[in-house]
Each structure stands twice: as structure tokens, then as C-alpha cells.
């Protein structure tokens, strides 16, 4: 049967068809839908883990004990999971172990655009890269086989345009996979120096075998056409290249590490001009050049951002298509914003008012860095807000610390904020940490986490008690406050930043997009009462618009969260009456 599937959904189907039974992940764009879709298969145990390191460790445990398992994450997640990755390369596997990593060239939803192919080389783990949804499914199934045949984990790399594009997939039946026997094997699974030294020898031996395999597997293919131009490429770059060079010959790389060197040699010899087309770093190019082959690649193509057919046409063929509109108009940008009714808006209103230095983190609330709130000073990586605030205080002293807060979400706090909170207590810091408890992991599209009380399959589970957790690590001052009660929120923040000990403020209000969250319905402005003081604009709500001569509420956007009514001094907002929706 044919089905239109997202790359991520096709990966999930491949996991199911391969008979895998354990799947773990921490959500992250563009990888999230892999595990969301796996969780729909009843016979696969699935979990949102607290972070990527834990996710990979759980998958390793499942593999060692005999099951086929998969662990999924975005590119920066692999940084978090790098520790177990480098050592599971030594131990190898029992049941097949596949690690999905989704890169985000162009940074649609990421803080950097690192190229995760380097992890494959650094950890000596083979890596595959599909170029459409059908290959997503096929390659994942193949990855389980390679993992078991060569006794190693296998990385499968996606990029945004593969993960988040839908294309046609041929659905097949599940192949039954019998869980392998578990035998205690000290030499293989206990990586103390004496055993690890022996395993490293195995890793190098495996490298030789994998290099040979890369030359014979049908994951790497040559498409012969005209030999004037030859193109070595992979993933979505293959698709762009096919569009621009329909009559060229292609070496399409499916095993991006280790490269099929013999195949590359053969291909290079037969074509007149050789291009390497790859997104981000010259990963193929440098290796191919090292083989003594002359190629053109990054001297013409960018190392930043995504490629496209247009970029290839311009940079490789010097063909510029003139596309100009017939209308000359300055078009204002439309950056993402916090949604109408977003609980974070109340908090930022207060932080901006108090002119605090805000050490930020990764989530919807990072949007608080943009106008009009502009209340964030730093954003580095998951969980960094707390450590950064602590470092600022240690560098600039207690008084500076009293004008600084760390801001991070509930899921981010569990991911990797808790260890930094312990650091503050242990090393006598004084920081104030605001945890935004909105009852969900928001930015990635509503995933459960240890603080929500539900599992990935929607089963009720024990909920982490953030107050008790903070108390237990030594925070005596823990306050829980509703960010829409801006008077109380401001009072609490003032008290806690001035306290002579570290504190945690839990800003508690559910995400406005959650189904159970109900508001009053759209508001409108009573123009007779409104004095145009524009104070309401400072909350930064996309539904409140300055029309020059009047303030207007966009009734199609306003949900009626009432935050603006708390800021308005003239009681000018009132219910709009019946607008359905």
C-alpha cells in the first residue's frame, strides 16, 4: 500500500517493520515526530526521556539485553548524548541499535547548525543518510541489520527537509524479530581500561570491515548518464542536484560514513568534471580531496544555511533567474511571537518592568528576547540559563546577582537545569531561578515530560514535584505564583532577587494551546474609555494593534486571557460578545 508520509513518520514505520520494541527520545525539532509516531504502535515500548543522554542509555540497555532499539534526537541533542555514544561504539550491541539524528541546516528552529556527520567519524560509528521518505523507512530497516552484522550502533542522519517533507512510501508488513538471548559478557560490556583497550582493537577491525561494506552495499549507488559532469552527493542535496543536473552522472551516497572510497575512485576516473554537493561542512569533499581526487565543492557552494536548486543553478552554472515582483513595497518582517494567551507574557511584562538581566534558555519563552518584550540577555543551550546566571554572579558579585534571574521551562529544567541548580546551592550562589511550569513541552508541539504526570502514550504516571525537588537539593525559598497575577508576580520577584539566598520561583499556568485551557472569548476596546496611553502594547500581544488614531483588538486572534485588562488603567477592554471559535 502507498502512503504519503513525513520522513519522520516513515522512520517510525521502518522501526515497526524491523520489529524493534524499544524507542526513546527527547523531543527536538526536526526530530520530534519520529517518536510521536512510534508511540502509536502498541507493540513498541516508547518513552520521552528526560534528556538525550538518558534516552541513549535506555536504548543501549535495551540493545544489550537483546531487543532492537532506537533513540532519536535533534543535532544538538547528540552533543548531550555524546558521552554514551563514544563508548557504545566500543561495546557494540546485542539487538540492533539505531540512533536517529536530525540536523537543521538554516536553523529553522535551532541555536546552531552543526553538522552531525563529524560525530560518526569521531566515534567511529557508521552513518546512513536517506534522501526521501521511502528511503527513511528502508534505511532504518537496513541500519538495524548493519548494527547486528557489524556489532555497532548505527547513526541515521536526517535534515529538516527530509524529516519534514512528505513523500510516497510503500508500506510493508512487520518482520517478526525474536529478542536475542542475554548473556553476561564482562569483556564486551564493562568498559574498564583493560577491557576497553581490547574493544578498541575490535573497533579498528570493524572500521576496515565497514569500509569494505560501504563499497559493496546498494545504499551507495551510481547512476550513469552523461560523463561530462559527475556529482557526488547525499540526502536532500541529491534531490536539488537531480533537479538542476538531470543529465549528469550521480554517485549517491547512502553510507555517509565510512565513505565508499573504491566506488568514489571509479566514479571520479570516468567523469570529466566532478562536483561534491553537500549541505553545511565539506565533510565528503575533504575526505575525497585527501584521496588525491580533484573536485569542486565548497569553493563554489556555501557552508552556511540550506542549499536549494536555485543556489546550485547560480553557484555551479552561473544561471541567475530574474524574479522580481511588479509591486514595489516595503514588506514588514513577521518574526514568530508568543501566542495570544501565552502564560510567559505575564512574566516578561514584570521582568521588563524591573529591568533585570535575564539568563535565558531554549523553548517558546526564548521568543521573549524579541521585541517588544526584549527581556532576555543570553540563550546558549538546553539548561544553560542557571549556570550562566551563577557565573555572572560569581564574576560580577552579589549586587549584580540581585538584578539577575535565570528563566527556563519545566521540561528544560528537568533536561539539564537541575544539575546547575545543585551547583548554585553547593557553591553558595544566590541566584533566582524562574521555572516556567506550563504543564507541557511547548515549542516542539506539546509533548509530555516528567512534570506533566503523563507518559508519551498518555498513561497517567507519577509527576515530579518541582517544589519538593527544589527543596531537596537545598533551595529553601521556593515560591509558586501565577504569571497572570502580575501584581503578585512582581512582588515575589522583588522579594526573591533581594533575598540573601538562592531561590526558585515556579511560574505556574498552562500553555494557552492546551485543549483543556478555556478563556473568556475575544475582547474589544471601548474607545470612549481608552485614552491611548498605549500601556497595553507593552504586554506584546499580537492581538492588540496600534492603529495610529486608536487601539484595536484583533478579534480573530484574541482568546480573552485578560492579561491586558490588568495592565490597562482606564478599564477600556471589554468582552466583544459572540465571536465563535
Amino acid at each position: 500500500m502507498k502512503k504519503l508520509m513525513l520522513g519522520n513518520e516513515a522512520v517510525a514505520r521502518g522501526v515497526y517493520e524491523a520489529g524493534a520494541t524499544v524507542a526513546t527520545a527527547y523531543p527536538g525539532t526536526p526530530s520530534t515526530e519520529i517518536t510521536e509516531n512510534i508511540a502509536k504502535y502498541n507493540d513498541i515500548y516508547s518513552e520521552w526521556s528526560p534528556n538525550e543522554k538518558v534516552a541513549l542509555e535506555v536504548a543501549i540497555g535495551a540493545s544489550i539485553s537483546g531487543a532492537r532499539s532506537i533513540c532519536s534526537m535533534k543535532h544538538v541533542g547528540l552533543n548531550v548524548a555524546a558521552d554514551p555514544l563514544f563508548t557504545v561504539s566500543y561495546t557494540g550491541v546485542n539487538g540492533g541499535l539505531v540512533i536517529m539524528v536530525a540536523d537543521d541546516p538554516g536553523m529553522h528552529s535551532s541555536q546552531n547548525e552543526q553538522d552531525s556527520r563529524f560525530y560518526a567519524r569521531a566515534s567511529k560509528v557508521p552513518m546512513l543518510e536517506p534522501s526521501d521518505s521511502q528511503e527513511c523507512k528502508d534505511f532504518v530497516k537496513k541500519a538495524f541489520e548493519i548494527s547486528e552484522e557489524f556489532d555497532c550502533p548505527v547513526l541515521v542522519r536526517l535534515s529538516t527537509r527530509i524529516a519534514h517533507s512528505q513523500s510516497i512510501v510503500e508500506i510493508e508488513d512487520k518482520t517478526e524479530y525474536k529478542i536475542k538471548e542475554y548473556k553476561k559478557n564482562f569483556d564486551k560490556y564493562v568498559m574498564m581500561p583493560a577491557m576497553a583497550r581490547k574493544r578498541h582493537v575490535e573497533v579498528e577491525r570493524r572500521q576496515d570491515l565497514l569500509k569494505k561494506y560501504s563499497n559493496i552495499t546498494d545504499l551507495n549507488t551510481i547512476e550513469w548518464r552523461s560523463k561530462d559532469i559527475g556529482i557526488i552527493t547525499s540526502g536532500v542535496a541529491y534531490q536539488y542536484s537531480k533537479e538542476v543536473f538531470p543529465s549528469a552522472s550521480f554517485l549517491k551516497i547512502g553510507v555517509v560514513y565510512p565513505l565508499p572510497e573504491a566506488m568514489i575512485n571509479e566514479f571520479a576516473k570516468k567523469v570529466k568534471e566532478l562536483y561534491v554537493v553537500e549541505e553545511l561542512e565539506p565533510f565528503f569533499e575533504n575526505q575525497i580531496k585527501k584521496m588525491g581526487i580533484k573536485v569542486k565543492g565548497k569553493e563554489l557552494l556555501p557552508v552556511m544555511g540550506e542549499l536549494s536548486a536555485r543556489i546550485l543553478r547560480e553557484k555551479l552554472l552561473n544561471e541567475y533567474t530574474l524574479s522580481e515582483t511588479k509591486i514595489n513595497e516595503i514588506i514588514p518582517a513577521r518574526p514568530p511571537v508568543m501566542c495570544p494567551g501565552c502564560p510567559h507574557r505575564g512574566m516578561y511584562y514584570v521582568l521588563k518592568k524591573l529591568k533585570l538581566t535575564v539568563s535565558g534558555d531554549i523553548g517558546c519563552y526564548t521568543l521573549g528576547a524579541l521585541p517588544p518584550t526584549e527581556s532576555m540577555d543570553t540563550c546558549i543551550c538546553m539548561g544553560a540559563s542557571i549556570g550562566v546566571a551563577h557565573g555572572m554572579e560569581k564574576a560580577r558579585g552579589k549586587e549584580f546577582g540581585k538584578k539577575t534571574v535565570a528563566v527556563l521551562g519545566d521540561s528544560t529544567f528537568i533536561h539539564s537545569g537541575i544539575t546547575s541548580l545543585i551547583d548554585i546551592v553547593y557553591n553558595k550562589g544566590n541566584s533566582t531561578v524562574i521555572i516556567l511550569d506550563n504543564s507541557i513541552t511547548g515549542m516542539t508541539g506539546h509533548q509530555h515530560n516528567p512534570t506533566t504526570g503523563f507518559t508519551i502514550k498518555g498513561e497517567v504516571t507519577r509527576q515530579v514535584d518541582l517544589v519538593k525537588l527544589a527543596n531537596a537539593v537545598g533551595i529553601d525559598r521556593v515560591r509558586v505564583v501565577d504569571p497572570f497575577d502580575i501584581v503578585e508576580f512582581e512582588k515575589v520577584v522583588r522579594e526573591e532577587i533581594n533575598a540573601d539566598q538562592p531561590s526558585v520561583i515556579i511560574s505556574q499556568r498552562p500553555c494557552a494551546l492546551l485543549k483543556h485551557v478555556k478563556f473568556e472569548g475575544a475582547l474589544k476596546i471601548n474607545t470612549e474609555k481608552c485614552r491611548m496611553c498605549k500601556k497595553c502594547l507593552s504586554v506584546g500581544c499580537p492581538a492588540i494593534v496600534d492603529k495610529g488614531d486608536r487601539i484595536e483588538v484583533n478579534g480573530a486572534l484574541c482568546v480573552g486571557c485578560m492579561l491586558c485588562t490588568k495592565v490597562c488603567s482606564f478599564d477600556s477592554f471589554e468582552k466583544a460578545g459572540d465571536i465563535n471559535g
Binding site: 519534514h164 536539488y240 514588506i331 514588514p332 516542539t444 494593534v545 465571536i579
Partner: protein
């Protein structure tokens, strides 16, 4: 019709994704190769969003380049203007008359361009605008704007109405189907 490039542009949260998925399923039913490129994550939060739907005999790149779109469905006026250069010569433009001010306009740092519809219609003759929000409201759910526009698109292709309805059934949840069906009919009969 042997190939079609459709872009759905709008503001995150307007339902462009769902509409593009219906379109993708229509393509499958007509035995085309098809690719739909979506937007997830940060830019979904009220930002400018675009999805590409391409179908034909064999589709490689999931993206549509400037000057390649046969049809652009703009869910918002300013977004229609923003993506105009993607429309091919003589391409069809379907615009929802809704206006949503972006943050730079809200904060007074930029101005929302005036008379967008008039300017577009004067220069792009194959364009049409509708108040899909009002129509959706009449049908019983303001969120059905996307399906009203899809109905209008359907009426300007030579693909049978029944194919569209079948494709909708595969994507739209059962309990929302009736109101969306109404919205589709309303859009379809606008022509």
C-alpha cells in the same frame, strides 16, 4: 494537467499544514508522485510560514523556487505580497482578505502596506480574493478558513470534487468533518 506546484503561505496557526496535507492526498489519488514540505517548530508560533506541495511524474526537490509556483494560496494579505515573486508568469493567486499585523507593525516600527489587494489585482490578473474568515464563520467555525480556501482552489483545477472530498476524509478528524465539508462547499461554489 501533468504537474502542479502549489504554495500555501500564511501565519503560523492558520492551518496551512492541514490544507497542504489534503492537497498531498489528492495528488496520490491521481497517481502522481508528490512531495509536501512543511514547517514545524519555532516559526510556527505566529511567524510567516510556507508549505510547498509539488506533484508530477517524478518530484525531486521538495521546495518550490522563485517564479515556479503555479498557484499560491495566501492565507493573509501581507503574506500574499511577501511570496509574490514565487508565482510564475500568469500563475494563479488565491488570497484570503484577512489581515494580521506582524509584531513590527504592532510596535509601530513598520507600516502595514496599504491597498495590497488592489495593487496585486492590478498587476496579477489571475488573482482572486475572498473573505474566507467570514465564510468560515458562517459555516460554524472560524478555524475552517483553510478549507474554504482549499474549496476555492479545488474549483479551479480539473480534478473531480469527489477526489478532494475523499482526501479530506483521510486528513480531517471525523467530528470536525461536517463543518469542514460545509466550508469546502462554500469555497468551491465561490468561483
Amino acid at each position: 494537467m501533468d504537474k502542479l506546484n502549489v504554495m500555501l503561505v500564511g501565519v503560523g496557526g492558520q492551518g496551512t499544514l492541514l490544507a497542504s496535507r489534503v492537497l498531498g492526498n489528492v495528488a496520490i489519488k491521481k497517481d502522481f508522485d508528490v512531495k509536501v514540505s512543511e514547517v514545524h517548530g519555532m516559526s510556527q508560533r505566529g511567524g510567516s510560514v510556507v508549505t510547498y506541495v509539488k506533484f508530477g511524474k517524478k518530484i525531486y526537490s521538495p521546495l518550490i523556487e522563485k517564479g515556479e509556483a503555479d498557484i499560491i494560496i495566501a492565507f493573509e494579505q501581507l503574506e500574499a505580497l511577501r511570496w509574490l515573486e514565487y508565482l510564475k508568469e500568469g500563475g494563479r493567486l488565491i488570497i484570503n482578505e484577512q489581515k494580521i499585523d506582524p509584531m513590527p507593525v504592532i510596535t509601530g516600527k513598520a507600516k502595514y502596506p496599504e491597498n495590497i489587494l488592489e495593487k496585486i489585482k492590478a498587476n496579477y490578473h489571475n488573482s482572486i480574493s475572498v473573505d474566507a474568515l467570514a465564510i468560515a464563520k458562517e459555516c460554524g467555525n472560524i478555524k475552517a478558513v483553510n478549507i474554504v480556501l482549499l474549496g476555492l482552489l479545488a474549483s479551479s483545477t480539473d480534478i473531480k470534487k469527489s477526489v478532494w472530498i475523499e482526501a479530506m476524509k483521510e486528513v480531517i478528524p471525523v467530528k470536525l468533518f461536517d463543518v469542514n465539508m460545509k466550508a469546502f462547499e462554500a469555497g468551491y461554489n465561490l468561483k
